[in-house]
């Protein structure tokens, strides 16, 4: 039952794919989070004429299936002749998708900081910016972290969809091996274990941070 045609080389091939998955996730989360913080802050404090259009654009990004966004993004750059590699397109599209979710996570965190706490900070003479950096961001981070970790884990798995624009990440590399050795159950189990091995430390780290912060609450 445990006889398999899968070789160590195949496993190495899958791990390389996992590396691509991690790289895409990393860049998408980095870009998406930076944009999400900016947009989230705008959503939390800006007047309606800025808030409504921004919200509408982000709603589109959240509502259109990611697969369609990848393919549209890929086609668009081909038509415009930007000469971007599929890897960059993958990171940009997934990054924007991440940003649209991260915006809501950040907005929720910022709005969860009580107005009275901010008022106390301002009453001490802290400027608007000092209030943001020393009071609002640290407090919002505590509220937003669990959702942000959830988002990271989601993006890690959603990144599998980039195989449709020709990137060999973990899932695509598994498929290639399955086609050759015809052992889908075994190979997909290995892929699943690798996904789990990547996700689990992130979830644990988050749980530890959360526990440490809540000791003080």
């Amino acid at each position: 039952m445990f006889d398999t045609l899968m070789s160590w080389n195949d496993l190495l091939f899958m791990l390389k794919g996992a590396g691509i998955t991690l790289a895409i996730t990393f860049w998408a989360m980095l870009g998406g989070t930076l944009l999400g913080v900016v947009f989230g802050l705008i959503r939390a404090v800006a007047p309606w004429w800025l808030n409504v259009p921004l919200g509408a654009v982000l709603d589109v990004l959240r509502s259109v299936p990611l697969l369609i966004q990848f393919i549209l993004g890929n086609s668009l750059q081909a038509i415009l002749g930007w000469q971007m590699t599929p890897f960059i397109i993958a990171c940009v599209v997934l990054g924007l998708y991440t940003a649209s979710y991260c915006t809501e996570v950040v907005r929720g965190g910022v709005l969860a900081v009580p107005a009275t706490t901010r008022r106390a900070a301002r009453s001490l003479g802290l400027t608007y910016r000092q209030d943001l950096t020393h009071i609002v961001f640290p407090l919002a981070l505590r509220v937003a972290l669990p959702s942000w970790i959830g988002l990271t884990l989601g993006v890690l798995k959603d990144s599998a969809l980039v195989l449709w624009i020709g990137i060999v990440e973990l899932l695509r590399s598994s498929q290639i091996i399955i086609t050759r050795i015809q052992e889908p159950l075994f190979v997909l189990s290995v892929a699943g274990i690798i996904y789990f091995a990547m996700s689990f430390p992130i979830a644990r780290l988050a749980a530890r941070l959360e526990k440490r912060w809540h000791e003080n609450d």
């Binding site: 009275t116 706490t117 106390a120 009453s123 001490l124 003479g125 400027t127 505590r142 003080n216």
Partner: protein, 246 residues
């Protein structure tokens, strides 16, 4: 000197302050009493510019608070404000809560800010709680921390907004004792309060607010023993009979 001149303040169509005027001189302790919604707390928020006003003006040491070009952040350094809901910064220790403003607003070094904060915290009796997080403190201790946090800026004025109203009854006295300390130090204070006995004891003058106006203002003996206005007498009668019941 804080000069409040005929200020008007509305929230939407609700007029909260309908032309309030009073002057608080250096070293003076003025208590403000009155029912909920009479505009007492709102007036405090206006004094340090946390709330805009729709009419009149407020001068703090000659600076008009709501004038264009007034640096409110600078003005607020001189005016300490303590809230009903102490508003601790929950992610910072007691010491860090108190150090934050001296460091970031006054630009003190870490060591200097630490010394100032530790001294103020000792002053209010929290010398043994420096590295504790606010959540581990009682309400009374958190409120005393809030007072130390405001004092760490060495303000010229202290405003207290019903600082004992949200406390359990047995914790009220420790906060009032801290306020008495400040009175003894000669701090200029405006104290919005429901503690009539305390107001009578520490105040130079007492202002009775009613429906967004100062109904009567005078020395505590006048307000509490021989009020000139029937509304003042009615209010005190209602409050005092209430406190006997509890």
């Amino acid at each position: 000197m804080i000069e409040i001149q005929n200020i008007k303040k509305s929230f939407g169509s609700l007029e909260v302050l309908k032309g309030v005027s009073m002057t608080v001189n250096k070293g003076e302790v003025v208590s403000v009493i009155g029912g909920s919604g009479s505009g007492k707390s709102t007036m405090l928020m206006c004094i340090n510019g946390l709330e805009p006003i729709q009419g009149g003006r407020i001068l703090v040491d000659g600076t008009e608070v709501h004038a264009k070009g007034t640096d409110l952040n600078k003005l607020r350094r001189n005016i300490g404000l303590v809230f009903q809901q102490w508003n601790a910064f929950p992610h910072l220790t007691v010491l860090e809560n108190t150090m934050l403003a001296p460091r970031k607003v006054l630009g003190k070094s870490r060591q200097e800010a630490r010394d100032i904060a530790a001294e103020q915290l000792r002053h209010v009796g929290l010398g043994d709680k420096l590295d504790v997080f606010p959540s581990k403190l009682s309400g009374g201790q958190q409120q005393r921390m809030a007072i130390a946090r405001a004092l760490a800026m060495s303000p010229r004025y202290m405003l207290f907004d019903e600082v004992t109203s949200a406390l359990d009854p047995q914790l009220v006295s420790e906060v009032l004792d801290t306020l008495r300390l400040l009175c003894d130090d000669g701090m200029t204070m405006i104290v919005v309060t429901h503690e009539m006995a305390f107001a009578r004891e520490v105040s130079d003058r007492v202002a009775f607010f009613r429906n967004g106006e100062i109904c009567e203002i005078g020395p505590p003996e006048q307000i509490f023993d021989s009020p000139q206005r029937p509304e003042t007498a009615d209010f005190l009668k209602a409050v005092l009979s209430n406190s006997h019941k509890t």
